[in-house]
C-alpha cells in the first residue's frame, strides 16, 4: 500500500474556502478564533468543508502572517536523566494546556553547545525558551550563552531558566542550599559525625550549592570543619560509583556518604556493595532530588525531595505571564525525606 507515496499536496485554506463557497477571509475567520463573527451558516459550511478535506492549517504560514508562533523551546542536557525528564515533563504539560507546542533540543551536557542551540532555536521564533539545568561556572561560555539569550529577548522572546540562577532572566530554582543544609542538620541529629560528600563537578552550580549547603548544616550542628571530606565526580551514576571509591580509599571510613544527587547516590551504593559493604548498615547514604524511579531502591534512599515537575510548569508560567520588566526569581522548596539508608545512629 503506497500509503506514504506523498503525491497529493496538503489541502490549503484556499481549497477549504472554494469547497465551502466563501472567501478566503471568511474561511480564515471561521476556522481560527478571530475577533470578528461569521454568520453561522457560513461558519458551518467552512467547518464541514475543512473536516471533509481533513484540513490542517499550516502553522508556519500562520506564524509568518501573524508575526508570532505558538511554539516554546526547551533545552536540556540529557532527557534520559530523570532529573531533566522530570522538569521537561512539567514543561510539556504546561505548554500543552496553554495550547503551545514544545520543541526540544538536547545539549548532551555540553555547555558550549547550549549557546549554539539557543541560536538555532531562535529561528523558530518561539514565544519563549526554557533552559534547564547544568549551568556551568565558566565565564566565557556563560557570556556566549547570555549574548544569545539577550538577543532573543530583545527580539521579543521570553526566557526562563530552571535551576540556573545568575543570569538576568526569569529564573526558577530549587532550594539546593537550604535543602542540603536541612538534610545535614537532620543527619547530625540522627547521630552521624563523619561524612563524605560526593560533590559533582565544581563547575556545576547546582552541585556546588548542595555541597556548600550540606557543609553549612554540619557547621550548624557544631561539628568541626573536618567532619566532612569532599570528593568530586561526574554528576552521573558512574560518577557516583567512582567517587564513592575515592571516599573509601583514604583515611577513616565515613559514617555517611552524601551524594549531590540521587543518581550519584545509587552509583555510590553500588560501589559500596562491590567493596563488600552494606549501604545503610556499614555506611549510610543520602542523595538529593527524590527521583521517582528510584523511590524503591533498597535500602530506601534518604534524600531531599524536589518538585521537578512544578519547576517546569512554573517556567512556562513565567514565559506566558511575565511582563519582562525585571527578572523574576522563583524558588521552589525542597523537603528532607528520611529513609532506611540513614538509620539513626546510636
Amino acid at each position: 500500500m503506497g500509503e506514504q507515496q506523498g503525491r497529493r499536496s496538503a489541502p490549503t485554506l484556499h481549497d477549504v474556502a472554494r469547497e465551502a463557497g466563501v472567501s478566503l477571509a471568511t474561511a480564515s475567520r471561521s476556522l481560527n478564533g478571530s475577533a470578528r463573527r461569521v454568520k453561522d451558516e457560513y461558519r458551518a459550511r467552512v467547518l464541514e468543508a475543512a473536516a471533509r478535506l481533513n484540513y490542517a492549517p499550516n502553522l508556519s504560514a500562520q506564524a509568518v502572517a501573524r508575526g508570532r508562533t505558538n511554539a516554546i523551546g526547551i533545552i536540556v542536557s540529557d532527557i534520559t536523566d530523570p532529573y531533566f525528564a522530570g522538569v521537561a515533563g512539567g514543561v510539556f504539560r504546561a505548554a500543552e494546556s496553554a495550547g503551545l507546542v514544545a520543541t526540544i533540543a538536547v545539549s548532551g551536557r555540553d555547555a558550549a553547545k547550549e549557546a549554539q542551540l539557543v541560536g538555532a532555536l531562535r529561528g523558530q521564533k518561539p514565544r519563549g525558551l526554557v533552559l534547564v539545568g547544568s549551568r556551568v561556572a565558566d565565564a566565557a561560555v556563560t557570556r556566549r550563552l547570555e549574548r544569545q539569550l539577550a538577543e532573543f529577548a530583545e527580539d521579543g522572546g521570553r526566557v526562563a531558566l530552571v535551576s540556573q540562577q545568575g543570569l538576568a532572566f526569569d529564573t526558577v530554582s530549587f532550594e539546593n542550599r537550604a535543602g542540603a543544609r536541612e538534610l545535614a542538620t537532620r543527619l547530625a541529629e540522627l547521630g552521624y559525625r563523619r561524612f563524605c560528600v560526593l560533590a559533582g563537578p565544581e563547575t556545576l552550580v547546582t552541585a556546588t550549592e548542595r555541597t556548600e549547603g550540606f557543609l553549612a548544616g554540619i557547621a550548624d550542628a557544631g561539628l568541626p570543619a573536618d567532619a566532612a571530606r569532599v570528593v568530586r565526580g561526574a554528576f552521573t551514576r558512574d560518577g557516583g560509583y567512582a567517587a564513592a571509591g575515592d571516599a573509601l580509599e583514604h583515611g577513616e571510613r565515613p559514617e555517611l556518604i552524601f551524594a549531590a544527587n540521587d543518581v550519584m547516590a545509587v552509583g555510590a551504593m553500588a560501589r559500596l556493595r562491590d567493596e563488600g559493604l552494606e549501604p545503610g548498615a556499614d555506611v549510610a547514604v543520602a542523595g538529593f532530588d527524590d527521583i521517582a524511579t528510584l523511590r524503591d531502591v533498597t535500602p530506601g534512599l534518604t534524600t531531599v525531595r524536589l518538585p521537578l515537575d512544578q519547576g517546569g510548569v512554573a517556567a512556562v508560567d513565567l514565559i506566558l505571564t511575565g511582563d519582562g520588566a525585571s527578572p523574576t526569581a522563583l524558588t521552589l522548596p525542597g523537603h528532607v525525606v528520611l529513609r532506611a539508608s540513614t538509620p539513626p545512629r546510636l
Copy 2:
C-alpha cells in the same frame, strides 16, 4: 535589567542585504547553501553583515517558501517513563545529527489523544512523525489514528512507529515475544516451576506480546499450562505494586514473578517487601527493558535488555531514507540478562 523588553524586532534577510549592499536574492543565496554560486566578495560581505546583526533566519518563513521544514515530530506517552525517555533520547540524537529539530508532544498514555496530537503536529508540516509505544488494541481508536497518519503520509510526510506494529507504516519493534520466551526458557533452566506473570493491560500490544512470549517459553520447557498464572495491572510502578499483591493473594505462592516491564518489577519488589518477603530469596523477580536507571536496584533485576536508544535512531533513519514504497519493518533484538533477583533454584 530590561533585557526582556522586546521593542526591537528581529533583523530580517532584508536588513542583512541592505547592510551588505546586495540584493535580497544574493543574500539568500550566500546564507543558505543554494545551488548557485555567489561571488566570494559578496558572499563574505553578506556573512559579515549577518554576523554583525546576529541574524537568525526565520524558519517559518523558510518553511513556507520552500514548502518543507526541517522538523521532525515525536509523540510519546510519558517522557518521565524511562522507557520512552530512552527511545526519545535516540530520536533527538539522530535528529540533531541530521540537522533536524525535534518537536515533542506527550499523550499522557491516552490513546485517543494520540490521534489528536498527530492532527496538531501535521500543521507543523514536519518531515516525519515518530510515534512511540503503547499502541492500544482498540479498533476505533486505532482507525482514527490510522486515518490521521494516512492523511499525513499522503501529504508527503513520513511516519515511523516504534514498538507499535500492525499499522501500514515503517515500524521498528523490539523482540518482545522472543525475548520473553528466551527469558522463560532460561528461568526454567534455573529450576523455576511456578510462575506468576504481571501482564499489564491487555489492550497494550507490547505487554501482551511479552506475556505470550513468556508463556510460550514455559510451554517450551515442557511445563504444564497451569505453571503460570497471569494477573493484570497498569504498566507502571504502582501497577506492579498492586498486581504483585494479587499474585500473592490467591493459591500457592509463586516461585517467580515476571513483570512485563522493569518499572512494574520494581513495584512488585516493593510489594514483596511490604508483605514481609525478600525478593530474590522468597520470591524471584524478573522484568523487561533493562532500564539504565534501575540497573543498581538490589537484588540486581533479571530482565531482557532492549536497545531503546537504537530504536529511536532507527526510526529517524527510516524517516530520512525510506522511499515510502512499502512499509519497512525493523526488529531490534532483546538479550536476557540474568542477575541476582533470580538465583538458581536447586
